[in-house]
């Protein structure tokens, strides 16, 4: 993982609603869209919590966890490239969402609010890892050098599950190249690409998360994809 943590755009407010303080601009509200199922569920959970019916709220929250778990893991893993850390980051995000469900406002899709909390957690973990890596060198990674070590080590665990050594090697190389390429993206481009490509968010939703307008998000997405294509050996 790159030692640079450049995706700072959503780090300011961990659990606030998307209208929280952001460095560039206050995010604009997406237009009047009908409330999605998970947003409706989140509102119900908030009301249950406010009435003190915690057991019922927890039970209903399980539905939200099941609905967003895989997508959250995909985003967290792309950010962190480490299964255990991604697992923890997702758990933390869900717990944080439940703890602060009172601050959720239905004007925003639940997905946007949750994803923002998740990404903030991932960015915090990346920063913590950078600080940690300055002092600690994993013993099993000493043989691997520099950037390649940082890229290969986290993915090593599941790549090694494959039986065929050649397939294992190829998969590891592919992961390393992919991770290195994503790490070379500029911070905002990387965030936009992660959210649009791995998080299945629309440019409008991403704009709401990081405080950019939709067309700017499209430009970042395009530049990120084009740069990745160049870095990974494809055409620009």
């Amino acid at each position: 993982m790159s030692t640079e943590v450049r995706s700072q755009t959503v780090t300011t407010s961990v659990v606030s609603a998307p209208a929280g303080p952001l460095p560039d601009a206050a995010p604009r509200r997406p237009g009047s869209v009908p409330l999605s199922d998970d947003s409706r569920l989140a509102v119900e959970i908030r009301e249950l919590v406010e009435r003190g019916e915690m057991d019922e709220a927890r039970e209903r929250f399980g539905g939200l966890v099941a609905a967003h778990q895989r997508r959250a893991l995909r985003i967290a893993f792309q950010y962190l490239r480490d299964a255990a850390e991604a697992d923890e980051a997702v758990q933390d995000a869900f717990v944080k969402v439940f703890s602060h469900i009172g601050s959720y406002r239905e004007a925003w899709p639940f997905e946007v609010w949750f994803t923002r909390i998740l990404i903030n957690g991932c960015l915090d973990r990346r920063k913590a890892r950078v600080r940690r890596d300055r002092w600690i060198v994993p013993a099993d990674d000493v043989a691997l050098a520099g950037h390649e070590r940082r890229v290969l080590a986290p993915g090593h665990q599941h790549v090694s599950m494959q039986a065929d050594p050649e397939a294992r090697l190829l998969a590891r190389e592919r992961q390393a190249r992919m991770t290195a390429a994503i790490d070379r993206l500029e911070g905002r481009q990387r965030t936009v690409f992660m959210l649009c490509h791995y998080g299945d968010c629309t440019p409008r939703e991403v704009g709401a998360m990081i405080g950019l307008n939709e067309s700017t998000v499209r430009v970042h997405l395009f530049r990120a994809a084009r740069k990745l294509r160049t870095l990974l050996g494809g055409q620009p």
Binding site: R74, V90, G155
Partner: protein
């Protein structure tokens, strides 16, 4: 004359891809152009293949790392953590102390109080003893051992002289005749005196400690 439309820009191709992927309608003029223009259709297919590969790889990574059982485990972990949300923080007792739940009314027995008093008295006595010893050791000129020894010798001499018959009383005992201080002083002077003849004159001119001490007495 047929004017051929310019090729689509790259950003339009990417927009088309993401719109199609999300199931949204593609921009109609762009969609029409992709149908008509073979070059743009090929470019679009390349872009789509590249981005789809990225997605598939990511999906495979996550599927390999998080199989259904691990997802279930994670859901359980989250549920456990949510159980603690909203509850008051629990104060953990210091290891070795009795927990609050196990705490019973404290009954201090009489034996225990006595033991404590004895221990306190012993400690106080020890402290006083050490303090007194330290004090007497630091008083200048006070030599407890030499005083005791002299007092013992004098008492012994008096006892001996009283027990003797009257005609023998003028005879002094060896203890009274020989003053130990004087004897030791003489002995020291003999030993300290220089044996070299050239230094005897200088020694005679130099004041000695014993002379100063005798003068002081």
């Amino acid at each position: 004359m047929i004017v051929r439309a310019p090729h689509l820009q790259d950003d339009v191709l990417y927009d088309c891809y993401y719109a199609e992927r999300r199931g949204e309608p593609v921009d109609p003029p762009s969609a029409e152009h992709l149908v008509d223009c073979e070059t743009c259709a090929r470019r679009y297919a390349d872009v789509g293949a590249f981005l789809t590969t990225l997605s598939v790889d990511a999906e495979n990574d996550v599927d390999a790392l998080f199989p259904p059982e691990r997802l279930r485990q994670q859901q359980q972990d989250i549920a456990k953590r949510l159980e603690l949300v909203g509850r008051a923080a629990r104060v953990i007792t210091f290891p070795g102390r009795r927990s609050v739940a196990m705490a019973q009314p404290i009954r201090t027995s009489r034996t225990r109080i006595t033991t404590r008093w004895i221990a306190a008295a012993a400690a106080a006595g020890l402290f006083v003893g050490v303090a007194a010893g330290t004090f007497f050791n630091f008083v200048p000129g006070f030599d407890f051992s030499s005083h005791a020894r002299r007092a013992g010798i004098a008492a012994g001499a008096r006892q001996v002289s009283q027990s003797l018959p009257s005609h023998l009383s003028p005879v002094k005992t060896a203890v009274e005749i020989v003053d130990p201080d004087k004897f030791m002083s003489d002995l020291e002077s003999v030993l300290d005196r220089p044996h070299t003849s050239e230094l005897i004159a200088f020694d005679a001119l130099t004041p000695h400690m014993r002379e100063v001490r005798d003068f002081a007495r």
